[in-house]
Subunit: 176 residues, 6 copies
């Protein structure tokens, strides 16, 4: 049977660091399950884009890059702070895979405690390609953000007026 890796992330947004990581995983596995985490959230600092928007931006990039047939899409709702259920949630939401790939210490811990193989991903210019930083740049109107994501992602974010959304989210102070 084919070898499959699980690539877990929130992809807020999907940036060039994610694309490099995906290609690196694909160099080791036959196929990759792209597991979009914290799938239920949107319009927040950490999670500005909806699940559907994240699927769309990743799908457009993979299509453009010609690797759509190498990937399966899955979405994983957060179990909030009930972390003891999270690995079961992942297994239930994703098509079969044998190795998980992540750099997040808690993700790695939870997979290890559940006895599932988990691997680190070599970082690709981490300080540059970093979700928090890119979201801040978008919110502040620093157009350099467009160079940190694939042209398809930049185009899509403009289509959905993502810059306006991020600006509104970042100036929000009062709403709980």
């Amino acid at each position: 049977m084919e070898k499959r890796g699980l690539f877990i992330g929130r992809f807020q947004p999907f940036h060039l660091g994610h694309l490099e990581a995906l290609k690196w995983i694909l160099s080791r596995e036959d196929r990759v399950v792209i597991g979009i985490g914290s799938s239920q959230y949107s319009h927040t600092h950490k999670n500005p884009f909806t699940l559907g928007e994240r699927i769309e931006m990743i799908w457009r990039v993979l299509k453009q890059e010609g690797i759509l047939d190498k990937c399966l899409f899955a979405s994983i709702p957060d179990t909030d702070e009930v972390h003891s259920l999270w690995v079961a949630q992942v297994k239930s939401c994703c098509p079969p895979f044998s190795t998980a790939y992540s750099n997040d210490p808690l993700t790695i811990l939870l997979f290890k405690e559940a006895g599932i193989p988990v691997m680190n991903i070599p970082f690709f210019k981490r300080t540059i390609y970093e979700g928090t930083r890119i979201r801040e740049m978008i919110a502040k109107g620093d157009r350099e953000w467009e160079k940190l994501v694939h042209p398809e992602v930049a185009k899509f974010i403009r289509e959905i007026k993502g810059e306006d959304r991020l600006r509104s989210i970042y100036i929000n102070k009062t709403r709980k």
Copy 2:
């Protein structure tokens, strides 16, 4: 058909700034739906009063002010960080309205993305009539807070021993 506005707030507590805002909206609309947000929470820093207590304090003020028949009451539980469902939640919980009124950037963003007309409310001495500040004054025992709310609200908060409650909430450190 009559023109209706939706006035959304947490009203923790309902203060004189809220009352001014309500009167301003009533000068533009035939009737106002008072939408009490984050309705499920209570006994926290941001939301010390229960939904029932908030209904009571607003109701007493409107009665005193003779504008009870101009208003309908609705309560809107928070969808937490699942903001993509929030406008649907509002529409489901509230009697029909055509324009929403709010000054919260995220609220405005969500209504705009959903194609619902939303308007800003001119602030009435914002630095003075501000929920966070009033809650802190109550917690600290600064009796000046009573001047920032309608006498009916001050009376009701004393009735339910709201000052003791706020004091306990503000000194709480350890509880999650």
Copy 3:
């Protein structure tokens, strides 16, 4: 202080039996808190109307009947089968009241176990004015249903195309 009763129901829809019950309670109490239960549900057999729609239909009737100032509105989300939390939920969602009114055995049991006074309501032609029966009549297109509700309710249900909705809900078989 004024005497207040709590009138709990799902009001799907608010019918003439409910109106009679409300008037009977008003003959015993200074004021009535109308507690709309199972508030989060809609578009189901038991709960076809949204909370906002239920508030609207009751409000129009009370206005027409001139008893709006005798009533306060509250909504109470169901705690599903976690019934041990339900009375606390009611107390949190409703402005203060001293006696609850209901004919539902479980509601009566829960209030009694919590030590809250609860009273039965004399039925007004129960076999005629009964929610389940009225919903079935609407779904089947039996126009006699309009005689079982206040004209304001009949008018509102037609406005929101409630007959179409109930028909769709009742023929639904496959959706969970």
Copy 4:
């Protein structure tokens, strides 16, 4: 290390069949974790007693029988129909155990799929000692139910007026 079994049930109420099963498991294991399932529900046909009431009735029996030190108590909230998370829930809620004991086909299936050893329990007069039947007897006022539970359980159910509660629950038709 000591050998531990997990005995899973809803214990609504804890009856003599449960006690026999527990003793049988204790004959095979050093210690037993009593896992009270569907722990959040109460006041329903299937789950009339609260979690606290179930802990109390089991604890009194074990104390009377002198096997309290052989048992640990755990409670397991239902994950409703999200069964893929249920085994993770059990493992998170219970102190360590090596074998699960149950006669419920779904429970057995879920443990098997998760690779956890699970065993059937020989039935002790199943048609007689059966929760559904005992609850019906209590609701109908058939005093023979007292012979199907340990005297401590019968005494406790009377103390909390469990017969009244079951009667109210069973006649309830209208509440969702």
Copy 5:
């Protein structure tokens, strides 16, 4: 921009009727978003397979049929009986689409009330290709079920011992 349809179903399991429907939609649209509904449930009568298993079986069929590049995958957790939030949930979980396709009366009603175009799908031998019937055949060991699904689906269900699972689920009586 390309024309996109949304094909909503629970796909428990994905059968030949679904495949025909998908092909019919593809004859009218450039691309199809496959929206897997009730995504959180599994191991029940109506929803025996996990979300991951459903993604896998559909993905294998589309790959075999050479239409993988015509489809995007999305999963939509049920909002239970809180139907007023369901369309917002769909829009949040799915990449952009312009028309929804479904034969379920409630689904059609909800989309219509939200102002989203929705179309019926011509049935393809409905009495034969029907989820409930196929699940019962699997549970009963009637091997004819394999002819009602794509060979890739039959193979996958055998791989994950789906027949054992369905048998256990169908004999289950006692578990809530």
Copy 6:
């Protein structure tokens, strides 16, 4: 009937200050219900250990100390910020008790508002025996933490590789 106190805590982990408090309560009551709060959380800064692990560590200490028969175990899932339901949750989850013991201002407030007797516990070297501090020591590899818990707790935490877990949790920055 015997006098029972409720001792509420998160016990993350159960330390010598907790043991002293328990003994002090036992000097005033016939028996103590140990109510493990925030029971659903684990693998977080404030709640690193699962409910099952907390039951195990407390159980081992009580067994070693010979006070197992003086205590009953109960677990209380957090109602998050819906504090108005919390006391009802406690009463539903715990076997009967007459006095609650806690030093947390919010816990005390909630019990008082519900009319349930609640008492402060004299602190036993609070600056030394403090959960937050002990968790930080474990995370940082400061072996002195072992002196702040009962030897049985230290042994158990080592058994489950609790030090590794805490280290991973504390370095986690990116996961929500």
